[in-house]
């Protein structure tokens, strides 16, 4: 108990300096926590993806379509339970800045495949009955103030022209990891329209979403699907939804790595600041250490004192930083809702925070401790201030 008291007394001896250092650590831990959360959100799509859903797309690359006739062939393959399909529409709402994911899908099977998108049965019924209807996520609808029955116009980038849709349903996520900012409409609406304007692009789908009977048959089913279309004009590539999303992330790998590196840089910066504080503290207290040595305390006790003081300061800062992470993540998440549909601080991040704080405390204390232990008693006592 005695030692703790000394540690706290020492740590807050110079209130201004300790206060500033703690503030610095709190900011650094906050930044570190936010950066880890950014990386986690990047992978949120992978985490939320199911292993019992398969994605089939054109083997050449994602921009090439597959014929709609594949649907029946896929349905006959062993292990397949539900087949749904859709296209990336890539429409723009008023301005390019208002980005959100918009797909046309075969709605009945799609919502069956995604039980995590919860839609009111009545809304679902009206949506299914209206070919021009669309369903939006709760967050998306709230962002633009869309209400049921509103007409929304998207400007097509892949399919030219202005497309009108009527909001028929607002889905919400089964839990908070579900992306509530997507836009779905009827594949039939797109297909019937382009049949008239660009008939050569009709009856094609961008991807098939396939539900398998059990997750463990997914790998074999994927291979069976690809085999069925081998050596055809449109060869397929089938993977689990998880692997598919992972592939997307991997493309922006360089940026994720950069953010990861930067999150460690902030720790190094704050390490320099804490090391500085500790160096000053021990320099000021050289006389104290000399007296302790005269009284018979050895290097071990002095080491404990300095490391302990360093720990007290970093852990206090860390605690404040961790508490601040939550409101900050909330504010950050709502401003960047476009980029990151889900933005949640994970428990893992908090563990990392504590580990980082302890690491900072120890590394910052090494050099000052060495100085304090090495100083000869006579020199220490002679030095003033």
């Amino acid at each position: 108990m005695m030692i703790l008291k000394i540690l706290f007394r020492n740590a807050f001896h110079n209130k201004l300096r300790s206060g500033l250092t703690i503030l610095g650590i709190a900011v650094a831990i906050l930044a570190f926590g936010l950066l880890r959360t950014v990386i986690n959100s990047w992978y949120a799509g992978v985490e939320a993806a199911s292993t019992s859903r398969l994605v089939t797309r054109n083997a050449i690359s994602i921009i090439f379509p597959l014929p709609i006739s594949y649907k029946e062939k896929i349905r006959q393959i062993d292990g397949v339970k539900i087949v749904s399909y859709g296209n990336w529409f890539g429409g723009i709402y008023i301005d390019e800045k208002n980005f959100f994911a918009n797909f046309c899908v075969e709605p009945k099977s799609y919502f069956e495949l995604y039980p995590e998108f919860v839609l009111d049965p009545l809304q679902k019924k009206t949506f299914l009955a209206d070919r021009k209807g669309f369903v939006a996520g709760r967050k998306l609808a709230a962002k633009y103030g869309w209400k049921l029955g509103d007409t929304v116009t998207l400007k097509g980038t892949i399919y030219t022209g202005n497309w009108d849709f009527v909001l028929r349903g607002i889905y919400h996520g089964r839990d908070e990891t579900v992306d509530e900012s997507q836009f779905f409409f009827h594949w039939d609406y797109l297909n019937e329209t382009i049949k008239k304007t660009v008939p050569r692009r009709a009856d094609q789908v961008g991807f098939y979403m396939i539900g398998v009977i059990r997750p463990d048959v997914a790998p074999d089913t994927a291979i069976a699907i690809d085999k069925a279309f081998k050596n055809s004009l449109a060869e397929t590539l089938t993977e689990t939804e998880k692997a598919f999303n992972q592939g997307f992330i991997a493309m922006s790998g360089a940026i994720v790595t950069a953010i990861q590196m930067v999150s460690f840089v902030v720790i190094i910066i704050i390490m320099a600041v804490v090391a500085n504080t500790m160096a000053m503290t021990t320099r000021e207290r050289t006389g104290d250490y000399a007296i302790m040595k005269t009284l018979g305390f050895g290097g071990k006790e002095i080491t404990i004192l300095i490391f302990g003081e360093s720990l007290v300061i970093t852990l206090t800062g860390c605690a404040i930083g961790m508490i601040l992470t939550y409101p900050a993540a909330k504010a950050f998440g709502s401003t960047l809702a476009n980029f990151f549909p889900t933005f949640l601080v994970s428990t893992e991040t908090l563990y990392y925070d504590v580990v980082a704080a302890i690491l900072i405390a120890f590394l910052a204390a090494i050099i000052p401790t060495r100085h304090a232990i090495r100083i000869r008693i006579a020199d220490g006592l002679r030095r003033i201030g």
Binding site: R17, S61, R200, V273
Partner: protein, 391 residues
């Protein structure tokens, strides 16, 4: 009389460990700031240099990239006959109808860690080459028109599997042989694969072109040419200068990087400013008697304030120089990542511009100034008698 500058510098030298720690904190902040801005500048520079001021790109109205666009053959022939199109040395019209598609290729690296990325395949015509003077063959030969041969950009040849010289690629139930590697310098073309447009169209079953590129006879004709294209009811196309077209493609990503860089640095700089503040406060506290003596000698409050500010600004200056020194080495690094806007791989270099140097240095001095202001004020406000007694 002002306190000599050497006083401030020698104080920093006296407490080396503290100075080094404070400077390294600031240097890291400057380094991160400069590095992210260099990335954004590099990306933008690469895409801007891809375009040429004299060339015009024609795409379907509303499409933001060539990949999304589609131009029917009959529309293409209307544009081809524009009077503003330049005529080449051999009397040929300098216009190229091209097809741009993406293919998924595996990146180099060991089997488990290497990832798949999208690479641009550009179907070109004979006239495409004189329209892009940046493109130069560095090994092998040009592909033969009408054959299943391709040439690849050097960034792709370096970064992806199976696209070296004599490598083969499979698409559209055909095997394509890489017969040449070209270098297009620091431009987006270095991240592309080129083949004969008619062959590529056949293989991908895409009976339409993606874009039309032509050189203007006279750069001033641009407005006339675009109005002709955009007002023609048969076309539904839009035309942009090639430079503008590529600049637009870099906008989103560059903006993302700049926002990321700035917000990160602002947070980091709080840490570094606090570091400078701690250092300066303790510098003032340790020198209370000294300050009293100086005041007694006749130095005024303002001189003391300036001396401590100079010390703190020097910390910022050294931090800035060290940070920029290390950031300048980043110029040797080439990154290759997917451009969100075109959804395809693009290789670019970190680029240091004078603007970044000025911004980073200003930022470093700002950190020093903010960190030193309060401690310097405290030093200047000290009472002579109290300060002298502290000794």
């Amino acid at each position: 009389m002002a306190v000599p500058f050497s006083y401030s510098i020698r104080n920093l030298w006296k407490r080396r460990l503290t100075t080094i720690l404070t400077v390294s904190g600031m240097a890291l902040v400057v380094f991160v700031y400069a590095a992210v801005l260099m990335m954004a500048t590099g990306l933008q520079k690469t895409l801007v240099e891809t375009g040429s001021e004299n060339n015009v790109v024609v795409v379907r109205k509303g499409s933001t990239s060539e990949v999304m666009s589609g131009i029917e053959r009959n529309q293409a022939s209307i544009v081809e006959m524009l009077p503003q199109v330049a005529i080449g040395a051999d009397g040929q019209r300098l216009v190229a109808k091209e097809l741009v598609v993406l293919i998924a290729l595996q990146k180099r690296g060991d089997e488990t860690t290497s990832s798949i990325s999208n690479v641009i395949v550009r179907g070109v015509q004979v006239t495409s080459v004189p329209l892009r003077p940046q493109v130069k063959l560095v090994s092998g030969r040009m592909f033969k028109m009408g054959s299943s041969e391709v040439i690849v950009g050097n960034s792709i040849a370096k970064g992806f599997k199976g696209v070296g010289l004599q490598g083969t690629l499979n698409w559209g139930m055909r095997t394509w042989t890489v017969v040449g590697i070209f270098d297009a310098g620091n431009t987006g073309f270095s991240s592309e694969i080129w083949g004969d447009v008619d062959q590529v169209m056949q293989a991908f079953r895409r009976p339409v072109y993606s874009s039309l590129i032509f050189m203007l006879q006279d750069p001033a004709d641009f407005i006339q040419a675009t109005t002709t294209i955009e007002t023609d009811p048969r076309l539904k196309l839009e035309a942009k200068r090639e430079t503008r077209y590529y600049l637009d493609q870099s906008e989103m990503m560059a903006k993302f990087l700049r926002i990321l860089g700035t917000s990160l640095t602002v947070i980091f700089s709080i840490g570094a400013i606090i570091g400078a503040m701690i250092t300066m406060y303790s510098a003032v506290a340790n020198r209370t008697a000294e300050i009293g003596t100086m005041r007694a000698l006749g130095f005024r409050r303002r001189d003391i304030l300036l001396a401590f500010l100079a010390e703190s600004l020097s910390l910022g200056f050294i931090g800035g120089v060290v940070g920029l020194f290390f950031a300048s080495f980043m110029q040797f690094i080439t990154v290759s990542t997917v451009n969100f806007q075109t959804f395809s791989e693009l290789a670019f270099k970190f680029t240091l511009s004078p603007g970044i140097i000025i911004e980073a240095m200003a930022f470093a001095l700002f950190m020093g100034f903010i960190g030193g202001m309060l401690p310097a004020l405290r030093a200047s406000r000290m009472n002579i008698v109290d300060a002298l007694r502290a000794a």
